[in-house]
């Protein structure tokens, strides 16, 4: 594999941000996680996360994009250590650095991880409308998740929660409600409040706004960004919605069929996509004043149980050459802070 895969870059000037990133908060290197099932003696292996390396800096929002079943959710689940059979991690490492405290997710005791969770690392799950216990009041969720991390007496703790909810434009009355009594948008905001009340250094957000209409989505995103600015945490933000990425993320990683195919600062990726897949993804976005019909990409994502040889994108790629069918392209730096896994991009013909 390319030598440059995991190397955190020297602090590039981030768009508009004063803070420079020296030490990344999260370093993922060579991560492989497969779904391994065997039924009636037939072994099946779905390579949902295949040799992925990236890092996330402090105070940074890192976006992960890609179409459905490209492995986004599996990747961040693996990063969060939320592995359940049949998903298995085969190799690679995930190391967090919480202000000097290094935690390697797959070398730590479960107790250490339990202690880290929510205090330093919180998670907003896909379908975050259904993550609250339906038979208990919202207040109990806050107590279960956050009480032991905040280390105050109960009345004081509830005051902290109430203030936090108000900051997110939620009335403290939601604490006494059951989840089914709240609307979908409110439940998502409650979930975001739950994920941020301990002011964690790292938040993993998996499509937190996918089921919402654009107005509510906008509000939730603005709220998430405000909280992130205030508590200065890092976020991995997953969605297939490129417009959301363009508005929210500092850097963007594009996944295709279980692999990271391109990564760079959001503006760079949108302005000058290097990988033909990224180029198509961006070209499919509607733009104001542009009336020609949008082009879709032929074909469907490959079956990850039996991925194509070489570059996994080659069956759908207009630029596919002979080498693409035989060999998987390595990640290479095309410009500072921007890397891509494509042979065509290396020769500069992806545009």
């Amino acid at each position: 594999m390319a030598p440059a895969t995991a190397a955190p870059r020297a602090p590039a000037k981030e768009n508009g941000k004063a803070e420079a990133t020296i030490e990344p908060v999260l370093v993922v290197s060579g991560l492989r996680a497969y779904f391994q099932t065997s039924s009636f003696g037939v072994e099946r292996e779905v390579r949902a996360v295949d040799d992925i390396s990236f890092h996330v800096g402090a105070n940074e929002i890192y976006g992960l994009a890609g179409e459905s079943s490209s492995g986004k959710t599996t990747l961040i689940k693996t990063v969060a250590g939320a592995i359940r059979p049949p998903l298995r991690v085969l190799s690679g490492s995930v190391v967090f650095d919480f202000r000097g405290r290094r935690v390697s997710v797959y070398d730590s005791d479960p107790q250490v991880m339990d202690e880290i969770r929510w205090k330093h690392l919180s998670y907003i799950m896909q379908g975050s409308m259904n993550v609250l216990n339906p038979v208990r009041r919202v207040r109990h969720s806050f107590v279960d998740f956050a009480f032991r991390h905040i280390g105050r007496k109960m009345p004081e703790f509830m005051d902290i929660v109430r203030t936090h909810l108000q900051r997110l434009h939620l009335t403290p009355a939601v604490l006494d409600a059951y989840p089914h009594q709240l609307s979908g948008g409110m439940r998502q905001r409650v979930t975001i409040a739950l994920a941020t009340v301990c002011r964690p250094e790292f938040i993993i957000a998996d499509e937190p706004t996918t089921a919402l209409d654009v107005i509510v989505q906008n509000g939730v995103l603005a709220m998430l960004r405000d909280v992130q600015r205030e508590i200065r945490s890092s976020i991995i933000f997953v969605t297939h919605d490129m417009a959301v990425h363009a508005n929210l993320c500092d850097r963007l990683g594009i996944m295709y069929a279980g692999r990271l195919v391109e990564e760079g600062r959001t503006a760079d990726v949108f302005k000058a996509p290097k990988h033909p897949y990224t180029a198509h993804l961006i070209a499919s976005l509607p733009r104001i004043g542009y009336v020609a019909a949008r082009k879709g990409l032929e074909g469907t994502p490959p079956n990850l149980a039996d991925p194509p040889s070489g570059c996994r994108f080659h069956p759908r790629c207009p630029l596919a050459a002979d080498i693409c069918r035989r060999q998987a392209p390595p990640m290479t730096w095309s410009s500072p802070g921007h890397r891509v896994a494509c042979f065509a991009a290396a020769t500069g013909s992806a545009q």
Binding site: R84, E115, I116, R117, V131, N133, P134, V135, R136, F145
Partner: protein, 334 residues
């Protein structure tokens, strides 16, 4: 609150309808049986020695009057409802003239005691073990328990009862095999009597628990293994919530809702008695009473027992339905 009173009213209406239909069916069924209590009594009285046909005819006439079997079926039906309304089921025909209600009240404490204890033990144990087995799916001990439960479940319970009788009554005779307490013992509220009571109930209770456990165990296990995959459980695990808390407040709490309905149903069925268990262990409960009343063609007693159990089952189901909103907040807003 208006929603709840509408719910309450419609639920009460349902209750009345179910009770009415149920009692009617038992009235029709008992009166349609080919066994005639009058002829049964005459047969018993004339078993020894010969009686003149005139005397028999007179006896038949006076017995009919006594038993309240005079008049058309419609008149009998109306007088039956009049009596039910005041809780009087008339005299027993086989143990004349003891009132049916006295017989039933005498038997009920035995049956309720036996079945309440065994049902509650079975329910708690089965749900706890099943919940653990569903949550800790990789524990080999709990897997073994699952196999045991599955093996025991299909065995008819009288077989288990006989097995227990053979083992603890014959091979290793440590427990009494029959009766509710030691014969000729004075029924007083003291330690020796209570001990005798417990000793006599040990075998019937264990046979009911052993057989009943499997059903609750397997039901709870499959409920839990579904709930474990719910988003809120995964999320709590990701949140580092304590495992014990997840098991109790997230997994068990959500799985328990259908199990409580099941408990209500089996609590209601208590009043029917575990007929076979009571027979096998010679237990003086409602089951034994019902069997003997059917054999004797004792209409009034059969009707009394069925009416009491119809009322009991419907009332428990009604109570559980009314309590349901406390258990599952989502029902409250309907």
């Amino acid at each position: 609150m208006r929603g709840y009173s509408v719910y309450l009213l419609s639920r009460l209406g349902q209750f009345a309808l179910v009770v009415f239909i149920g009692i009617n069916i038992s009235f029709i069924v008992t009166h349609a049986t080919p066994i005639d209590p009058v002829e049964q009594s005459i047969a018993a009285a004339t078993q020894y020695g010969s009686t003149s046909p005139e005397a028999i005819a007179m006896m038949r006439q006076s017995l009919r009057e006594l038993y309240g079997l005079e008049g058309s079926p419609w008149e009998q039906y109306l007088s039956f409802w009049r009596r039910v309304a005041v809780g009087d089921f008339g005299p027993s025909l086989s143990a004349f003239p003891t009132p049916v209600s006295v017989l039933i009240w005498r038997a009920i404490p035995w049956t309720v005691g036996l079945l309440l204890v065994s049902t509650v033990i079975t329910w708690i144990l089965g749900n706890l073990l099943g919940g653990f087995a569903g949550y800790y799916r990789r524990s080999s001990l709990l897997r073994f328990a699952g196999i045991l439960a599955m093996a025991f479940h299909p065995i008819p319970y009288y077989i288990v009862a006989f097995l227990l009788l053979i083992v603890f009554g014959y091979l290793w005779p440590v427990l009494p095999i029959s009766g509710g307490y030691m014969m000729n013992m004075e029924r007083a509220f003291n330690l020796t009597f209570i001990f005798s009571l417990l000793k006599h109930s040990a075998l019937p209770i264990s046979s009911l628990v052993l057989v009943g456990l499997g059903g609750w165990f397997m039901g709870m296990r499959s409920l839990v293994s579904n709930v474990v995959n719910e988003d809120y459980v995964t999320y709590a695990e990701l949140g580092g919530v304590k495992r014990r808390r997840i098991l109790a407040s997230y997994v068990m709490r959500n799985s328990l809702v259908p199990q409580v309905t099941g408990l209500a149903m089996s609590l209601g069925a208590i009043f029917n008695g575990a007929i076979i268990t009571e027979q096998v262990f010679g237990y003086p409960g409602v089951g034994t009473l019902l069997i003997s009343s059917v054999h004797a063609g004792d209409y009034s007693l059969v009707l009394g027992i069925t009416t009491v159990s119809i009322l009991a089952v419907s009332t428990t189901v009604l109570l559980i339905d009314l309590l349901y909103p406390l258990l599952d907040p989502r029902v409250r807003t309907v």
